[in-house]
Subunit: 344 residues, 2 copies
DNA sequence: CGCCATAGGGTATACGTATACGCATAATAT
DNA sequence: ATATTATGCGTATACGTATACCCTATGGCG
């Protein structure tokens, strides 16, 4: 242990010991084929022995490639700032793993979207590309995204996938998921299905889920009632408020499709408080399958997104974009998880 | 928008426009006092206009400071590899925020602790220091930590704080928290209190919590029964198994203190399946206050750690260590959250 | 009125790597 | 046997910044 004279070895040290020039060391270690197998093996052995590591900064400076991706969470400024949407957190695991697998580092930030966050990561050569995650008011960020595109910044976004979107988007099949949820509710005999979640341009994902619901209802010969839709952002409080509004609206309903589990959990509280029995009086479906969803009473039927696939696909897509390769797949299937809240 | 000839401006460009030399630009922007106020203001204005950003790689290469911290999660290899302990995830928010506040970037990794993870981050100049987070088998990592110390790597660890520990540790007051839990259980009339969690050198934090529990019991004149302790790692399955073992052990018990919420949730399942009523027959307390804890039936009494403070303190301590300043505070208070699972 | 300290900033260079070229030697073609 | 190409590597240099050192003008001081 600690044999080295404490100074970290450079490629020159390796070169000297191997009896070659410094560039040859560089070539050997990064797999250039213009170096003989014997020379390469020798260099690798020596590097190993000296615990040599390529200096990341020097390498990045010279090659203009950082082999680092930046992950940016953006959410509406939250009163409880320490709360992060659990859904995105669960994506973090697969993203870090995929980055590691591809030999990329991951830089992470929850900074509010201040004026120059894109400059921070791109122009200062901190990362080769950016992964954007976030619910929140979509419209607010559109101009920023356009700016990113203009600057030639490479990025991917998690969200509602559409061909005409800005930049590159990867996401779940929200419409299909909404259809599954709607079909399931119809199947268990519900006809008056409410939707809790913004159904506007501000939240395309939620809108897609609503569209899917409507499609499934119509396919079953049921006409959705617009009066049963209430706006809500993804939080318990918002779900609670939306459900209260629904109850006070006086319209009858026998099912609720919440655009997220947090909304659903808030709604369940409001419904229970109003004396409604779940699922007998009102069946309820959430979205995301957060851990808490299997702990609620009744346990919550929800839609599980493919988080592992999501991380992989996001990283894949971004790396493809960075290398100017075409991106192949962008939509991930989602799966309905049946639990007690819709049990007949 | 997009006014510049697309090439990113360098400090030479700024220097030329400001009529000064490149080093002066560097000095001005990093606040050296050997630059006049007027010159500095002018340089800053021009830099702003050109959207100039200091190149991170060049800067780090020259100064040998990256202004980046690395966050390393280590956990026992998990069958469900996409699952990350929710407790640590909630710390992530405060760590990223504190890093941002201090002008540091955060590099993140969930890589298994392979042979050379320390080399990866330290010797390749990716980060100035490392934050280590993880439950898992403590002993397994000791030699690695010793190695880190030998190499002069700067790091902090979240865990059980003790003066003789290896490296620098920041953590909650686990003993105090255990005492609070124990005192509460005694207060609601329980005497036969079981503990679920490793009580060995392998998990010092869990042991501290157990010690606190025992201390509180003895303070109330109750002698803890070693037969009521069961090993468990932080997962639902492990908690379930531990509770099963406890039930099958045949010893009577009227309360369970679980070393983590995940253990508690698994245990609740086992207890309920065994026909025991919560909290009438068995009161139960968890640890961590994960979101799911407020959704269980009954809702789970637990210990909330100061996650926001934790992130701040970890980053503070690490930066102090990096700058060779003394570290001031290292222990954070924890707070008991009373819910239905211990309601009299 | 000369001396020295100080402010303000220029000159030269180092940080450690990757790449454009050039130049041998050996292998193949003609 | 000469021209041609590929192989394997060395030489020179660029990436963009930060810092050690040097120089010039001032102003205070005796």
């Amino acid at each position: 242990m600690g044999r080295q004279p404490s100074a970290k070895p450079t490629s020159f040290d390796i070169a000297y010991l191997a009896g070659v020039s410094q560039p040859t060391v560089s070539r050997a270690l990064r797999g250039s084929k213009s170096v003989s197998a014997a020379t390469r093996a020798n260099i690798q052995r020596i590097a190993q022995e000296l615990n040599y590591t390529v200096d990341k900064n020097a390498s990045s400076l010279r090659s203009q490639r950082t082999h680092t991706l930046a992950l940016l969470f953006f959410e509406d400024p939250n009163p409880d700032e320490s709360m992060i949407n659990p859904f995105f957190l669960s994506m973090l695991g697969s993203i870090t793993r995929e980055c590691a697998r591809r030999g990329y580092d991951l830089l992470i930030s929850f900074q509010q979207m201040h004026n120059d966050w894109h400059v921070t990561y791109q122009d200062s050569h901190r990362s080769d590309g950016i992964i954007l995650l976030g619910y929140g008011d979509y419209q607010l960020y559109l101009t920023k995204l356009e700016h990113l595109v203009e600057m030639g910044t490479k990025f991917v976004r998690w969200g509602s996938v559409s061909e005409d979107g800005i930049g590159l988007t990867v996401g779940s099949d929200n419409v299909g998921a909404g259809e599954q949820a709607g079909a399931h509710l119809v199947e268990v005999g519900r006809r008056r299905i409410a939707f809790l979640g913004d159904a506007s341009d501000h939240a395309p994902e939620f809108q897609d889920r609503y569209d899917g619901l409507c499609r499934a209802m119509r396919a079953a010969g049921v006409e959705p009632d617009p009066a049963l839709q209430r706006d809500a952002v993804s939080s318990e409080d918002s779900g609670y408020a939306a459900a209260r509004s629904l109850i006070e609206g006086g319209q009858s309903f026998d099912a609720v499709f919440a655009a997220s589990d947090l909304i659903a959990i808030g709604a369940m509280r409001a419904l229970t408080e109003a004396g409604l029995r779940l699922p007998q009086d009102v069946a309820i479906i959430g979205f995301d399958d957060i851990p808490a969803a299997s702990q609620t009473t009744p346990t919550l039927t929800t839609v599980m997104q493919d988080m592992k696939g999501a991380g992989t696909l996001l990283v894949d897509a971004l790396l493809a974009r960075i290398d100017d390769r075409p991106v192949e797949e962008r939509i991930l299937p989602a799966r309905l998880i049946r639990r007690q809240s819709t049990a007949v």
